[in-house]
Structure formats: C-alpha cells, structure tokens
C-alpha cells in the first residue's frame, strides 16, 4: 500500500491528526513552515513509534543535520539543495533526495541519486522545497527509478492523489499545501488525505527494525549480569558516536587514507561471458588493506573504544582476517591487543597467526570444544567479563548482544553504500541480484542493508554447506538451524534436540560458525533475503574460475558467493545485472588451495 507523508507540520493538533500517516516532515529550511529543532522534538513526541520523523533541509551542513537527527530524533532526512554524495553517505539514517522535475534532463539527475529515496516535486517559486504545483507525472514513465525508492510530491491533494498513485506507483506520496487552507494546516484535510490514500482501513505498517536491539523477534542482550553494564555503556557510547560528525569524519578518513577506500566495483567481462547470463560486477573488498572487509568494522570499533577511554582490545578470530584487521588497527592506534583463536584454525591459518604476532598482538590458542570460531568467541567473552573495566571486545561479525549486530552492520554498510552509488554511475540503475557469503554475516549485512528497501533487488546470502547439508558436517545455520540463544543473541543455531550447540564444519575457517547474525535471521523470517548453501567442493571450483577468468584469487569465504552466483546467473538474461561481494582475497588460503587443488597446473 502506498505510504503517506504529511509535511510541514507546526502544531500539535495537526501532528495528532497525522498519526495515521506513515511519515511526517519537519521543515528546518527557510520557509513559512519552518520549525526549530526543539519544536520538532516536542511535536515528534506526540507521534506513535511507527511513524517516520523526517527532517527537511536545504544545503544545511552535516553538523546541523546530525544535531537534528539526535535531538528530535529523526528517522529520515530529506534534502532539497545541492547536497553532495559525500554528505549523503555521512548521514546515518535513510536519506531522501528531492528533485524538481520539469523535463527529461531533470529525470536524468534523479536517476543518478545515491540516496535511499528520491522525492519528485515541481519546481518551487519562492523557496526551494515544494511549490504546491503538480509536475508532469508522465515524465517518470521511463525513468530508471525503482518504484520502491520513489516519493511523489508537488500539488497533491485528496482530489488528485489517487491519479498520482495510479500514474507513478510510488513508495510514498507527500503532501503539504494540499492539506492547508489559507496557508495553515487543517485537521480535517489531513485526515481526509490519509483516508483517500489508504482507504478506510487506516492500517498501520510497522518498521522492520527497532532500536531496542531486536530485529523482529531476533537479537537482544542475553549476557550474564557481569557484562550488562559493559553492554549498556557500549550501547550509549555508540548511540552518541553514530551522530557525532567528528567521529564519523575520523572513521571515514581512516577508511580513505588507511584502508584505501572506496573500492572498485569491477565489471567481470570474462566471467560474464563464461556464464552467458547477466552482466557480472565484483565489489572488491579484497583490495582493502589487510585483505578483507573486516578492517571496516575494526577501525570503527577501535575508534569507539578510544572514545570510551579503553586502550585494551580483545577479539576472536576464525580465518584470522578479523584478528589481523584488529591487530593492525591496534598497532596503528597504539592499543593493547589479545586475540583468541581456535587451535584448529591456528593450524589452518598459520600465515595470519604470524601476521598478528608480527603486528604485536598476543594470540591465545583455544583448545576447548571444536577449537574453532565458536570456542574463540566463548574465550573472548570470558576474557571480557574478567577485564571489562579497561577492555573493549571488538567482535568481528554482526553477532553478539545489542548493540554489536547493529554497530557492525553500520560500519560495514560502507560496502553497500559504495556499491549502490557505483552501479548507478555505471549502469544507471539498481542491480537485479546481489550475493554475499554469510558466516556470522558481516560483509553480507553491510552489502545488503542499503538495498533492503529496494524490492526489485534480489538479495542472496550464501552459507557454507561443508560436505553437504544432508550430512552433519556443514555450517548452514539458516538452511538447517533452529532458533536459540548463543553469544548474547536470539538467532538461529546448529544445535541438538537438547539445546547443545553443535560444531559447524566448513573448509573455510571464516564461515565455520554454528550461529548467524540476528538481522539475517530476521531478513530470512520476513522473506526479504534468501539464503542458500554451497559445498566445500563447489567453493573450491569457484576459486579456480575466478582466479583464471578474472585474475582474482578470492578468499574461500568469498568463493562461496561466487559459486552461488554462477547458479543464479543461469536463470538470468544479458540485460540483467548481478553483483558479487568479494569479501576477501585468497592469500590466507594458499596452503589449503595448494593442498586441495594440487595437480591443477
């Protein structure tokens, strides 16, 4: 059902009338409808939780926008000026970019927008940001804009809004002057407009993610009381940092100057040809300093630890990529670093163990349980419990108690945000399919999150089927797991009928985990993302194809996404676009490749 936004509210009475809408707008730019941040905060407090609070700005600076986000608080930001892509990327909530549409050239501009939504309006006269006139809706007929991203505004009222919806099938309609009389909002007109769009049902739609640490039914903070204070402190510290322009600037500066972002979205010409289906693009997280996406998160959390006054870091690692990323950033920022790693993984990933040591980290071998990632997390949690006063637990995936899954996702979302902008630049439209491998699921959630509301984009997470999901040697948690609590979150687990967590198996140490991030479980639960599993053997075959066709030796983890992509590509046409997140490079897996793929040459 089309959503409704009532914009330019200034009075409590009108805000209450708009409670049946999906969103309300507060105008902070010069306009007769302008409100102060304090006014907006008071008005927003009158609204049900489910209504989006959108702040409207024209060429405001980031600090002003962030302040409003935090103080109102706003759940979305709408920009009507000449804001840059850099500014849009720095805004931590969903962004609507508004465009005045007079002709086909204007349509071209909005097609290039990297914002989450585009709002289409008729050109204003006195102020930027809405004129009260309708634009030519037919201009949008051939626009390369997903209907799921489109918001239609401009001269709408109860009389013409049905026509606008029929012509443009937008995600949302936006009204301001259409619910006013003599320049003032009118309660009856607001209600009538909402009723016209929504019919009589007035059904409220709910958001899929809440701020209390749950994604639908999944997530939470299931930790011993000894850790609750640390978890709550972290929750508060991150909530502040998220909206602090200095923190965000520092984080993005390290990504650029130290990690080497942004990373290319490489067109894979030979893979495209070989598969004979869609145009294939590779998001090159393998080019990051330290060789995988893990560093995006490690930098963010290390900066947060310093902000919290903590100079000691503990982390777990599976394949060693997160351990190396953490050890690297600890060296750079002069932090003490202890890494827990399963004995079995130490054996499989000796090169990364040496890297960590060379970088000055202390690597603790975990011999308990299956001696892999799960057991390393247990030990890291125990270490954190015992040293919680001066130590930050720098978790490596979108796992653990709230706020970790949200925080790790936010730090990794740079992957999806860049990809979105790059594909719009290259192809002028969104992709049809995106794939990423899922262990705990941090590269996947970072890639998927900026696309979750784009219904036309098929999102596929790829798990490790190990020796096959029909055997008991796999790590296919979403495919075969059941609901339960591990490491602080309610999620899906590989467990027996008595609730004992089972060992996972994958040739890839980074996917060898019997749980999966709670947001992934939610996205599966609501049917937004599909999750398939790929065997050790299939992944190894993809290592060869990507190496030989594109000259890119992928990490074993990433090879799982490549293998599933080949299957997805089989059903796709040449006009379609497929993106694979190459989460890391294969250097660390060379010993395994040498052993398993010997004789290739």
């Amino acid at each position: 059902m089309t959503k409704v936004k009532i914009c330019g509210l200034q009075e409590t009475e009108h805000v209450k009338a708009a409670a049946g809408a999906d969103a309300v707008g507060f105008v902070f730019a010069p306009s007769r409808r302008k409100v102060s941040v304090e006014q907006a905060a008071r008005l927003a407090a009158e609204l049900p939780e489910s209504v989006e609070r959108i702040g409207v700005f024209v060429n405001a600076d980031l600090a002003e926008i962030l302040e409003a986000i935090e103080k109102v608080p706003l759940t979305m930001v709408q920009l009507h000026g000449d804001e840059t892509g850099d500014l849009i990327r720095s805004i931590p909530v969903k962004v609507i970019q508004a465009f005045s549409v007079r002709n086909q050239k204007d349509v071209g501009k909005l097609e290039q927008s990297i914002a989450d939504y585009v709002l289409v309006d008729a050109p204003g006269i006195e102020y930027r940001g809405g004129s009260g006139r309708t634009f030519d809706w037919t201009l949008l007929e051939h626009a390369a804009i997903e209907p799921g991203r489109l918001i239609v505004a401009g001269g709408l009222d109860a009389g013409n809004v049905r026509g606008a919806i029929e012509s443009t099938a937008p995600f949302m309609v936006d009204v301001s002057s259409g619910v006013e009389r003599d320049g003032k909002k009118e309660t009856d007109k607001i209600k009538e407009f909402i009723k016209t769009v929504k019919g009589d049902s007035m059904q409220q739609t709910k958001g899929t993610e809440k701020d209390n640490g749950f994604f639908g039914r999944f997530g939470g903070q299931f930790v011993p009381e000894t850790l609750m204070r640390a978890v709550k402190e972290l929750e508060e510290a991150y909530a502040e940092a998220k909206y602090d322009p200095e923190f965000q600037a520092s984080y993005h500066s390290y990504l650029k100057e130290y990690v080497g972002r942004e990373q290319p979205l490489t067109f894979a010409a030979r893979l495209t040809e070989a598969w004979g289906g869609p145009r294939v693009y590779l998001k090159r997280e393998d080019l990051n300093h330290t060789g995988a996406h893990k560093i995006n998160n490690a930098i963010g959390q290390a900066l947060l630890a310093i902000r919290m006054g903590k100079r000691k870091i503990v982390a777990e690692t599976g394949a060693g990529q997160h351990g190396v990323a953490t050890a690297t950033i600890c060296a750079l920022l002069d932090l003490e670093c202890v890494i827990f790693m399963g004995e079995e993984d130490i054996r499989r990933q000796q090169l990364n163990v040496f890297r960590m040591k060379l970088l000055g980290a202390k690597v603790e071998s975990v011999t308990k349980g299956s001696a892999t990632l799960k057991d390393a997390v247990n030990e890291a949690l125990r270490y954190w419990v015992s040293n919680v006063g001066d130590t930050h637990y720098l978790i490596g995936s979108a796992l653990g108690p709230h706020p970790f899954p949200t925080m790790v996702r936010d730090f990794q979302s740079v992957i999806g945000k860049e990809t979105r902008k790059q594909i719009l630049e290259k192809e002028g439209r969104l992709p049809d399919v995106i794939l990423a491998c899922v262990g705990g699921g941090s590269n996947a959630i970072g890639m998927f999150h900026p696309f979750v509301n784009d219904e036309s984009v098929r999102l596929i997470g790829v798990e490790a089927a190990g020796e096959g999901v029909e055997t008991n040697r796999h790590a296919a948690t979403l495919t075969k797991g059941t609901e339960g609590v591990l490491h602080g979150a309610f999620m899906k687990l590989l467990q027996d009928e008595n609730g004992q967590v089972q060992e996972a198996h994958s040739i890839s140490a980074g996917l060898d985990y019997p749980g999966v991030g709670p947001e992934h479980v939610h996205l599966e639960d609501i049917g937004r993302v599909e999750y398939n599993a790929v065997t050790d053997e299939e992944a190894l075959a993809s290592v060869i194809s990507l190496s030989r066709l594109e000259g890119i030796i992928p990490a074993l983890e990433s090879a799982h996404a490549v293998a599933e992509a080949e299957k997805a590509a089989a059903g796709m046409g040449p006009e379609e676009i497929l993106i694979i997140c190459v989460s890391g490079r294969g250097d660390k897996d060379m010993a395994t490749y040498a052993e398993k793929l010997e004789g290739l040459a």
């Binding site: 299931f222 011993p224 009381e225 609750m228 204070r229 247990n378 125990r382 609590v485």
Partner: protein
C-alpha cells in the same frame, strides 16, 4: 525457600553447594545430593551441562564437558530428580543456561521442574530485561527465579533487580567468571553491604568462594555463601571430605 528467610532471621548463615549434574555419570547425582544434605548444607544448586558456558570458569566447564560426554541432558536430570524417593529436607535449585530451556520449552521446563521437586532456578545468561521469556511460567509453577547482581550492576538496575528478588539474591563477588580464587577485595565487602542493606531477601555471595578465609572476610556482610568450583573439583578428585571444613566454617556458627 521460606526456610532461607527463617535462617537469616535466626542469625544463621547459609551454605549453598553447587554440583554439576552428571559429572562422573548421572547415577552419582543422587549420592552426591544425599551426601551434601548429610553435611548440613542449606541448599543444593544442580548445574545442567551446556556446550558454551560463558559465565563459568575452567573447573565447571570441564565438569560440564564430562557430563555432556556421559550423554547428560536437561530432560534426563529432571527425570532423575523426579524419581528420587529419599527424604529431601533442603531446597534444590537448578542452574542452567537459557538455550537448553528454550529448546525444551519454557512452560514445559517450569512444569518438569515442579514435578522434580525443584524450588528455584538460576539462569545466568537471562538478564533482568528479558526475564519475561521464562518468568511467567516459573511463577505459575511456583518456582522462584533467582536474581543475580554483580559488582558492575549500576544503581538503577540494582534497585529494579532487588525489587523483583525472591528466595535469595545471588551476589557475584568478582567481575569475572566462576572459579577458585586466592583473594577477595575490600570492594567486594562494600558491595555486599550495599546489596544487603537494600535487598528484601537474603543475600548470598558466590563466584570465587573456595577458602575459609573468604568466608571469614565476608561473614558479617552476607547471609550465606555459594560454593561451586571447589565442590565440583573435590567430587571429581574423590576428595569431597576435604570440603567439609569449608561447610562447617559456615554452618557451625549457626544457632542450633
């Protein structure tokens, strides 16, 4: 559980003994419980083994792994307890991580605990905020959910948690995990005083209590002691008689 309050009112100190169910085989559990009852402990905490016991130190974790290797499950422990026909004079408390409870079904868990004669339950990874998952079923089965407080519990939380406390409050004496320790700090003493002054029910100290010196240090500031790793280790080493002085140190000063 009312006897715990009575003991406190009479000026006595409680000794709660923790054992890992099925360490050395589930058939040992009955003997262990009967033995401990005979030594005069106030209550017995029966631990359910779990694959990922993040709140426990190595002694209890290893005991749990031995029990898991014996095929011990939550269901089997509760059935074993249900079958007991000897006279139980002291409360039995089940300590389990949350996941086995969720898998078993929270409502069924509460009912089975009642049938097995369990008086109270401790779930270390079920924080106060999420207790609605289990608490209503336990209440219905008239089983007490024991609250934990720690040195790091903030004042506001302490207030809320103590407000909901029944039976006794489990006060964690260290910032770490369970296990045998050499020293307890003055900070612990102060913390115990604070909790005890605010708690509507007796306050027992646990995590790291293994020596009579620990008991002497805290005796005046708590209503009882919970001893886990030291007992689990003693049973495993077949030297449980070594633990009797520790039990005596607490219970012998009690008025008869």
């Amino acid at each position: 559980m009312k006897r715990l309050q009575t003991l406190k009112d009479d000026g006595g100190k409680a000794f709660v003994a923790y054992i890992m169910a099925g360490d050395g085989g589930l058939d040992r559990l009955r003997d262990q419980v009967e033995y401990l009852q005979g030594t005069g402990v106030t209550a017995i905490e029966i631990g359910i083994p779990f694959s990922d016991p993040v709140a426990d130190g190595p002694v209890i974790e290893e005991a749990g792994n031995r029990a898991l290797n014996e095929g011990v499950t939550l269901d089997k422990v509760l059935l074993e307890m249900k079958s007991w026909d000897f006279e139980l004079k002291i409360p039995l408390i089940v300590m389990t991580y949350l996941n086995p409870v969720l898998r078993y079904g929270a409502e069924r868990f509460a009912e089975s605990c009642r049938d097995a004669g369990v008086s109270a339950v401790i779930i270390p990874d079920l924080p106060f905020e999420h207790q609605q998952l289990v608490a209503p079923y336990l209440k219905q089965a008239e089983i007490t959910l024991i609250q934990l407080v720690t040195l790091t519990t903030t004042e506001n939380r302490l207030h809320d948690i103590l407000d909901a406390a029944e039976g006794f409050v489990y006060a964690v004496t260290v910032t770490g995990i369970t296990g045998v320790r050499d020293e307890l700090t003055e900070e612990v003493k102060e913390f115990m005083k604070t909790v005890r002054s605010k708690s509507p029910v007796p306050v027992y100290a646990g995590f790291g209590i293994s020596k009579t010196e620990h008991i002497d240090l805290l005796r005046d500031d708590v209503d009882g002691f919970i001893v886990g790793s030291a007992i689990v280790k003693a049973f495993h080493d077949n030297k449980i008689e070594d633990i009797e002085p520790l039990i005596d140190a607490v219970t012998h000063s009690n008025p008869v």
